[in-house]
Structures are given as C-alpha cells and as structure tokens.
C-alpha cells in the first residue's frame, strides 16, 4: 500500500463517520420506562451524609436475607466488606462509593503532610530527612533513612548524647496515623518509663521518615535504644494505623531482624495508650536483656 492509497482510505473512513455519527450518551433512550427519581430530601447547599462514618462491621446490605441476624453477628467479627448485596451483577452504589472513599483516604494519608505546627505544638523539635518532598519520599526510600550534614549537626546539638532511650516520631506512610495516635502513645510510653525509673529522653519529630532513620539517629546520638513511632502503610480498613519499632544499639546497616515491632495501633486495633504502656515495659525488658527483635523472641523461648 503506497502513501496515496493510505491517504485515500483514511479520507473514506472519515467521510463515513461524518455521514453516520456515532451514538452520543445523551441520545440514548431506554426501551423500558425508568423508575421515577425519588426526592432526596436535601436542599442545595446541604452536605450529604458522610458514608465513611458508617461502621463496616454493621453495614449489612443484603435484601431479604434468610438468616440476616446470624450474618450480622458474624460481620461483627471482621471489617471485611462482606454481605454487601448487589445491584444486578455489580456492587450497590453505597458499597462502590465507600470503597472509593476508603481508597481515597488511604491515598490521602500517604500524600498529606503532618501539619506544620505538629512538632512545635507537642513540644518536639522537627528535622527532615534527605527527601525534599512527598514525591521524593515515596520514590527514594533510601533518602528517607538519611540526613544531610547540616541536619546531622542540628541533631547532635539538639539531642542528648548517649542516652539510654531516644524516642523518634516519624510520619512514615500515614500522616493521619501520627496525628491520631502518636501523642497519646508517647504520653503513655513516657509515663511508663518514668514509673520504671528510665529516662525517656527528648523525643524528636522526623518528616519524610522511614524506620531506618532511627539507625542514623543511633549513629548521631550513640543511644542505647531507639523507639520509633511511625505511620503504617494505610489499607482500606483504616488509614490511621501506627507501629512502634524498637531497635537495641541502632546504627546504619543494623539488621531488620533486630527490630521489635508493635503494630496495628489504632482505635479499632490496640488502643494507643495500651500500646504505649506495653512499649514502656518492652523497652525495660530490652534494656535489661540487651537485645531486641528476633533475638528477644529467642531469649523468651529459651
């Protein structure tokens, strides 16, 4: 096929489209009569109800179930999207919207920032890793574990040298988790350590923070133990789940197996204050046994 023939063919096709226009959405007329639109009861300017406020454990949408009560009781045990019913072969509108809302909340938790005044409001100094913004934080995990020379110097003057415990609060992958849980958990850890006569030291807030940033802070301060409160990668059940990572003798290159983790800290999981009280006791144990992570588990089993 030469160039001329091709041009002729394209012209022919374009012409054909002109004569017989493609159906547009607005031209569609259903064969069967449509159900009448129900009035919504809302005025212009009203807010629609917040569908994310509905408890997934109680949201049961199957119509005319045989054993609805029994299913509802099972649903109490899990936030999984079960018993959603269906509209034809598809989700109901509520299920679909809720799924998209939860997905959006998870994305927001990752992309949004812990507020600018969070650290200052809670009596902490703030530092930033090598990452310049969220995009870099998400694409360069290595930069989320390190500080530039200026920040290292700042941390050296800011934080006590060779403390037993250095607490770090890091935004991690969920800013929402930190805003919701970190300060309640931190208050419980501090009081728990004070009761046990362990100096809780001076906590610091790290923006664009990965767990490994605690290792760099270990290098800088020479702390015996670092305890990091960090936002977990959000899921569709909650965007506010936080973890605590405790590392004995943290330093750059320390093995991941040497970290002790308390995860799932959120209102429907482990309450922040209980997780904090538990963490204080864990810190005492780890300082006494001088080991954290898998080594601590082995010791407990021995």
């Amino acid at each position: 096929m030469n160039k001329q023939q091709l041009a002729a063919m394209v012209a022919e096709i374009l012409q054909g489209m002109g004569q017989e226009p493609l159906a547009k959405g607005g031209d569609y007329r259903p064969a069967a009569p449509q159900p009448e639109q129900k009035p919504t009861g809302y005025q212009d300017g009203d807010f629609v109800p917040d569908i994310t406020a509905l408890d997934l454990r109680k949201l049961y949408l199957v119509e005319e179930p045989q054993k609805g009560d029994a299913f509802r009781r099972l649903k109490e045990k899990t936030p999984a999207r079960l018993g959603c019913g269906r509209a034809g072969a598809r989700y109901k509108t509520l299920t679909m919207l809720r799924f998209r809302a939860d997905h959006a909340a998870a994305q927001d938790a990752v992309f949004s920032q812990v507020s600018r005044d969070f650290a200052a409001k809670n009596g902490m100094e703030e530092v930033q890793t090598l990452c310049r913004d969220k995009d870099e934080y998400l694409t360069r995990p290595d930069k989320g574990r390190r500080f530039d020379a200026q920040t290292q110097e700042k941390l050296r003057t800011l934080l006590p040298q060779k403390p037993r415990v250095q607490i770090v609060v890091g935004d991690g992958l969920s800013s929402a988790a930190i805003e919701a849980n970190a300060m309640d958990c931190l208050a419980a850890i501090r009081e728990g350590l004070q009761v046990r006569r362990i100096d809780p030291g001076k906590p610091v807030f790290v923006r664009y923070c990965r767990v490994g940033a605690g290792d760099a802070i270990g290098d800088i301060t020479g702390c015996e133990l670092v305890c990091m409160l960090v936002g977990e990668r959000p899921g569709l059940v909650t965007d506010k789940s936080m973890s605590v990572y405790i590392t004995y003798r943290p330093h750059t290159g320390v093995s991941e197996s040497s970290r002790t983790v308390v995860s799932n800290i959120h209102a429907q999981g482990t309450p922040a204050v209980e997780a904090g009280a538990h963490t204080a006791q864990l810190i005492e144990t780890i300082l006494k046994k001088q080991v954290s992570g898998v080594g601590l588990h082995r010791e407990a089993e021995a």
């Binding site: 009560d69 300060m183 309640d184 419980a188 009081e191 309450p271 922040a272 209980e274």
Partner: protein, 449 residues
C-alpha cells in the same frame, strides 16, 4: 509457643462426689508483631474419677476424713501431684452445701488443691459451670434461640439461661432426685426439709411408685414454671433455694431446653423404681413426659459429670494481656467486687473496683480516670475494667502513688454485682481469673495483704 495450666475440678454434690483433672492450653493468638493476646485454646481432660457416693457421717454432716482419703487416692490414681495443680474449682453443691460442717470440709479439701484453686463456688457459678460442662454455651452459639440449661442433681437444679454463648442469668431450685431416699423395700429413710409443706410424706412411711410419680410430677411442674412453659405460681417461689441471690425469672421467649445432672440420665432410660433408692427415676420420667420435652430439647454432651467437668475445664478465664500489677502477692482469693455505683472502697476490707472503662481513650482521659479513682483508694488500688486500658491506667496510678503502693489493674473482665474474684499468677502476661459467688456468705479478706 504455648503454656499449659493443670486445672482441678472437684464436685462434692448431694449424691455424688467426682474429680477431674484438665489441661488448659494457653496461646498467644496475636501475631509476633502486635501486642500479645493470650487465649485458652484447648481444654483436655487428663483424668476422670469414678462417680463416688458422697460420704456422710449422718444426715447433717459430711465425712471429712473419708472425703480427704478419696481425693488423695484419686491423685495417686491420676499420677499427678497436688503441687502441680495450677487452677480449678472445688465446689460443694446442692444439699451438701447446707451440711453443718460444709465450710470446714471445704477448707480441709482446699489444702489438697493447688494454691489457686477456688473453693466455695456458690450456686451462680455452679449453674454456669454445669451449663458449660454440658456444652450448652456452645449450643446456644449455634442456635438462633436462647438455651435454658437445667442441671438436675440430687438436691438442687441449677438453671442457666444462655444467649449466643453468653450467660444471661442463673438460678437454683430445690428440685432433685434425692430429696427423698428409700431403703430396698421402699421405706422412706430421709425426707429433705425443703419438702416440708410441699409434699406430705414422712420418714418411716412406705413410698409407692404412684407416690413417687406424684412427687416427680410436682417437682416437674416447678421446672415447667421456671422454663416459662407454665404460668408461675406459688410453687415456683417455694422451690427457690435460700442461697439464691434473687428469685428466678422465667425466660421471656421460647427457649431450647438442655439437661444434665444425674436425673437427666433417668429421662431417656427408664430405671426400676427402687434402682437407686431415691425418686430420681420417677422424676426423670416425669420430666421426659412433661411440657419441658415438647419441642426442641437436648441432653448435654455430659450429664452426671457436667458440673465437675465445668469446674475442671471452664472455671478459669483469662484477663486481657496488657495489664498492670505492682507489689501484689498472688494468688488473691475471695476479693469482693465493688461496682462503681456501690460507693467508696471501704477501709476495713480489701476489694476490687469494677468499672467499664473507656474504649480507645486518650492519655488525658486515662489520667483523669486515675485522678478520679485516687481519692477512693488507700495505699491499694485494685481495679478491673471491661475495656482494654488496664495497663495504661495501672501505670498512671503508679505514677501518682508511692512506690510501695499495691496496684492491680486488669481488663477484659466484667464481674456482676455481689460477685467475688480470685486472681492467679500471670500466664504470658494475662491473669487467670475466676469470677464466683460465695456459698457461705462473706469471708472478708484482711485489708493488708
């Protein structure tokens, strides 16, 4: 990683005395990356004694020496030393609990049990233990309907209403197979005082099968009223035991009935009139033919052994796994439960305050609660909560009390009004707890531990 507790059940009933040894397996059900969550994952019966006749010296006294020897012999047969027993319950049930020397016998037997073995359980706990031992709690979890479990023994019937595995209420009636006993020729040798004014028969008279049937039918009518199958009349009130804390209220709706106890064995099988020298066979048959057995009913997976297996396998529960304990010697026994609305902790006796707590509280709410509780506590703060916040509350109290203060904060426990707690040494961070009522009224613990 799992831990094991050896649990003893010893039931000294109106008719029979039985013993079981169970092994409770406790495991952390949470992942290695979360706060631990200890649960009882398995209950295995290691040893079951034969069903012994409860040794009596006379109608008003138990034979303590014979009982002691019986228990010692059973330990030997089981091949288990008493020092190895971690938990469990020794209970004196039915008419036996009214014997003059019941309390002394129980105290003597508690030496033979482990350090943390509950004694003097009381009718509320017995009802729960029998229902769980018979499997009625599991049944109620499967069914849409409520289950009313009746453990019909020699002297009393323990009632337990269950909904989806949870106890709604318990009760106890003077309905049993051995309220009257006869010799081989049918001459009455014993009439329980509870029958006074209810059924005209006296020791020395001859019991005919017809008379026994009539008594069986009268007692069954009481059970029918208790199950809501007949409108309640005076008879139901007269059959209430004096130990019961409140009168039994029949269930509002339709229930599935579940039966255990020695008399349950006489329901499906007709025994000769004088087979056991009591009215058990006739009572069992009367129940079988009554309104109680119209519609759905089940025999427990255990019948005569339901209470003892309940005592061995189901008396202990675990608290939450994040809890707080400081300067408290364990086990703690017979701790009276004080509900929030029942006023201040009294100085003269040690008690544990039961409060609901707050779901997922902020730390300032924890501190506010600690400061609200402090003026009500002396040098000791013992608190049990329903919601998961005990460890945080415990350390908040510790930070505000002198270092030698005695503090116990546990959660996941919701004892009712008028109950008592026994708290054992922790297993993987969780405390074994037995919620009970006391048979012999109050036994105040010294305030100083």
């Amino acid at each position: 990683m799992s831990e094991r507790l050896l649990s003893l059940g010893l039931d000294v009933g109106t008719t029979s005395t039985q013993m079981v040894l169970s092994q409770l397996t406790i495991e952390n059900k949470a992942s290695a990356f979360a706060v631990p969550e200890m649960k009882i994952v398995d209950r295995k019966i290691l040893y079951q004694s034969p069903v012994y006749v409860t040794p009596l010296l006379d109608e008003s006294r138990m034979d303590a020496k014979a009982l002691r020897e019986l228990v010692e012999a059973e330990y030997r047969r089981a091949g288990i030393a008493r020092e190895d027993v971690d938990t469990g319950a020794v209970i004196v049930t039915g008419e036996t609990s009214r014997k003059e020397n019941a309390r002394a016998v129980l105290e003597a037997l508690s030496d033979l049990a482990g350090d943390f073995v509950v004694t003097a359980a009381g009718p509320d706990l017995e009802s729960v233990l029998a229902a769980k031992g018979a499997g009625a709690d599991a049944l109620s979890e499967q069914l849409e309907q409520d289950v009313l479990h009746m453990d019909i023994g020699g002297g009393t019937s323990n009632l337990c209403l269950l909904r989806r595995g949870k106890v709604i209420r318990t009760g106890c009636l003077n309905v049993g197979g051995r309220l009257i006993r006869m010799d081989a020729r049918g001459r009455v040798t014993y009439v329980s005082p509870v029958l006074e004014g209810l059924f005209p028969i006296a020791a020395g008279e001859v019991m005919t099968r017809e008379t026994a049937r009539a008594l069986g039918e009268t007692l069954t009518r009481g059970l029918e009223m208790a199950a809501g199958r007949l409108p309640p009349e005076d008879l139901l009130a007269r059959l209430q035991t004096r130990e019961a804390q409140r009168p039994w209220e029949p269930p509002e709706g339709e229930v599935v009935l579940s039966f255990s106890g020695g008399v349950a064995d006489c329901m499906e099988t007709a025994h000769p009139f004088l087979a056991f020298g009591d009215v058990g066979p006739e009572l069992g048959q009367a129940i079988r033919k009554s309104r109680l057995c119209r519609g759905n009913y089940v025999l427990g997976k255990e019948t005569i052994r339901a209470t003892v297996i309940g005592a061995g396998s189901h008396s202990t529960q675990l608290s939450g796994s994040t809890v707080f304990c400081q300067n408290i010697p364990l086990p703690l026994k017979n701790l009276p439960v004080l509900r929030e609305e029942e006023g201040d902790v009294r100085e003269e006796e040690l008690s544990i305050l039961a409060i609901p707590g707050i779901a997922a509280p902020s730390y300032s709410q924890v501190i506010a609660l600690a400061e609200k509780l402090l003026p009500r506590m002396g040098k000791q703060a013992l608190v049990c909560l329903e919601r998961d916040m005990a460890k945080a509350l415990g350390q908040a109290l510790a930070a505000r009390m002198p270092p030698d203060a005695r503090i116990l904060c546990i959660d996941g426990i919701a004892p009712g009004s008028g109950s008592y707690l026994d708290v054992g040494a922790p297993v993987g961070g969780a405390f074994p707890v037995v919620i009970k009522t006391l048979v012999f009224g109050k036994q105040p613990m010294r305030r100083e531990l």
